[in-house]
Point group: C2
Chain length 394, copies 2
């Protein structure tokens, strides 16, 4: 008979009970935070039309990274590489009957065909959060507030993370006032890499694509210093939704490091207003944890119009964030586990009709040992090794 | 621009918040029951090697019904059609270090390429429950007890369901004593269909394959009457694990209809002892809800040996069971929802720093309306339609 390898499929994770306790802690804390923040949970299938991703996401997500197949009926299907498309599809499907604004979240898995490496695996989970059918303004502020609440729910402290926001509208206006339109994409790319590069590297990149004076202006803006940063700030002050955030965010979240900066861009082309990104500040894990923004073109694919804003933290970077600051609770499984040592078959009825219901009433969980023929000492040791806090001989 | 259809992939379900509340109620009740019954939760990827299913499950699950593909690296992969293989793989992988017996459960989705129809869709969830590395006997009794507990957790009453058990060992012995070996598979098939056919239909099928006297004997056993049923019972009485169940089950679960009968077979070839099946007794939904049994060949695929027992209720039949007896709780979302009507931007800071934290403290959830320009009456109506129990003007 063929003997198979028990290894999981490359880039996927087997979650043994001790691993799952950790992931469940993240998911349950996310879920609690979202419900307390007035959001409703939804879900959808992992299979979507592959065409939708190819149209929506272009070469990267819709191309090499997409798990796309033909089903036995010849339909082009894909394992979703992200959750926003499914959200858009659900909204489009009940566009006429839903009571907007919709405040929804989902926690679900996605697949991307990538070379597995630290922080990047082929199957990962995201917390997809969206508000659709909302005016610009207060909701933008609320989403930034929510981003901070997600950190706080895990007990993260001010110095452990930061949230940086910006707006595509301000970026566009700034580029336009300086007549940099022809080099816009190159400039955006440099800003986007600000946190990954040294100042010298950024300056070198800038000099390559722009005359020296302009490079200096952009660098000033990146560093939030000098005349050029003042110009950027003044454009922001003219924008009502960013003005609203600047005026309120410190008061709402005084104990969170939330900054406004030109250096947040967000790769995707579809953002149309507020954009933001959250970072771990630990030098050992200095990385982006999640990002989000406003995209008022969410339903274009389905021939409908709606405004939307969203963010999507992933389980893999989130676990690394909790690791980096050791934010895990002391005990992930907090219930007392009673090891029941059953002395003979004659006790079974008592165990199931009296002992176990009583433990349940006391909020305890149990393990049970039926190996009547073994010595009590050995049975005791086994139950202890399997994690029993107390032993009960019946 | 291409406009796409927002319909979900055929045979999959979009879970809008009101749908997901129902499914979450099932999953949370399952999970609570399992944790209280001393089981630990695990999880694994939806992608498994397609080869494993082809070898394990043969033509049906490994063939036409399997969602199998090649990934971009040429590996044969499949979306799992059931969860037992993944459980076996995880056990095999840590065979040397796990502390047996393992008492584990998982709630996860599976795919089968079927023509969608009532109770059968292409994507469904299962509660996979297994104990591995356990002697026959008390654990068999425990699994039947657990099956009853799953029903009771939803408030199901004695007359709404029944659980029927049998043993492959007794079936084999009975066939052997009557010298029916050459027609064993046909007899098993007829017994397996007992609950789906009338007595006349069963008798006709029996007469086709057996001389009249034998048919009568089998019918007597099906009906749990007469000499032949006594013979079946006496074989059962000689089998220690079935004897243990017969002697204890009424005392352990006096308010559950648990019967021993020859008419439970379970299709899969791999069962090696106890087999059982649970049925809805509602005439409108007279169907099998789940089944299970002992399979002591679980790790054969991975070249290892272990005994195991398990069952796997599915979310689709379970939802239909709850529908058939209206066992849903009166309110799936029990928290009070407060609709916050914000009167102007100036109130935002108060809303986020005082109002919302206070609601959270009170265990209430909220909805929020920022449409400052609309009339109070209209805003009130909107919040009510969106499900607010109370309105709070700020």
């Amino acid at each position: 008979m063929t003997v198979l390898s028990p290894a999981p499929y490359k880039g996927t994770r087997d979650m043994y009970p001790e691993d799952l306790l950790k992931r469940n802690y993240i998911f349950e804390t996310w879920k609690k935070t979202m419900l307390e923040s007035g959001f409703s949970e939804y879900d959808s299938s992992i299979i979507e039309s592959s065409e939708a991703f190819i149209i929506k996401s272009g070469q990267e997500l819709g191309g090499e990274q997409l798990y796309s197949f033909e089903d036995k009926g010849g339909r082009g299907i894909a394992l979703r590489p992200e959750l926003t498309l499914s959200f858009a599809r659900l909204i489009a499907q009940k566009y006429e009957s839903l009571k907007f604004p919709i405040r929804w979240f989902s926690i679900a898995n996605c697949f991307r065909y990538e070379r597995p490496q630290k922080g990047r695996i082929r199957e990962f989970y995201q917390l997809e959060i969206n508000i659709a059918g909302c005016d610009r303004g207060p909701v933008d502020l609320e989403i930034l507030n929510l981003s901070a609440e997600i950190f706080k729910a895990f007990g993260a402290k001010k110095e452990q993370y930061k949230i940086i926001f910006n707006s595509r509208l301000i970026l566009e206006e700034w580029v336009s006032r300086n007549n940099w339109q022809s080099k816009k994409l190159e400039i955006f790319k440099i800003l986007d890499n600000w946190y990954k590069k040294t100042e010298d590297e950024t300056l070198t990149s800038l000099r390559e694509i722009l005359p020296e004076m302009d490079s200096q202006k952009i660098l000033e803006t990146c560093k939030q210093q000098g005349q050029s940063w003042q110009e950027y700030l003044s454009i922001a002050g003219e924008n009502p939704e960013i003005k609203l955030i600047l005026e309120n965010i410190q008061q709402i979240q005084p104990d969170v490091d939330i900054q406004f900066a030109a250096t947040i861009i967000r790769g995707q082309a579809y953002y149309t207003g507020l954009i933001f990104e959250a970072f771990d500040t630990n030098k050992e894990n200095n990385r982006s944890l999640f990002g989000g923004g406003r995209f008022d073109n969410l339903l274009d694919l389905y021939g409908k119009k709606i405004s939307a804003i969203g963010l999507a933290p992933g389980d893999v970077p989130w676990q690394e964030f909790l690791d980096s600051w050791n934010l895990w609770p002391a005990k992930l499984q907090s219930k007392t586990k009673v090891g029941i040592m059953v002395s003979s078959q004659n006790q079974l009825s008592e165990v199931f009709t009296k002992i176990i219901p009583e433990l349940k009433k006391q909020g305890k969980i149990f393990d049970i040992d039926y190996s009547f023929e073994r010595s009590e000492n050995k049975r005791y040791e086994t139950l202890k090794k399997r994690g029993a806090d107390e032993i009960l001989k019946v």
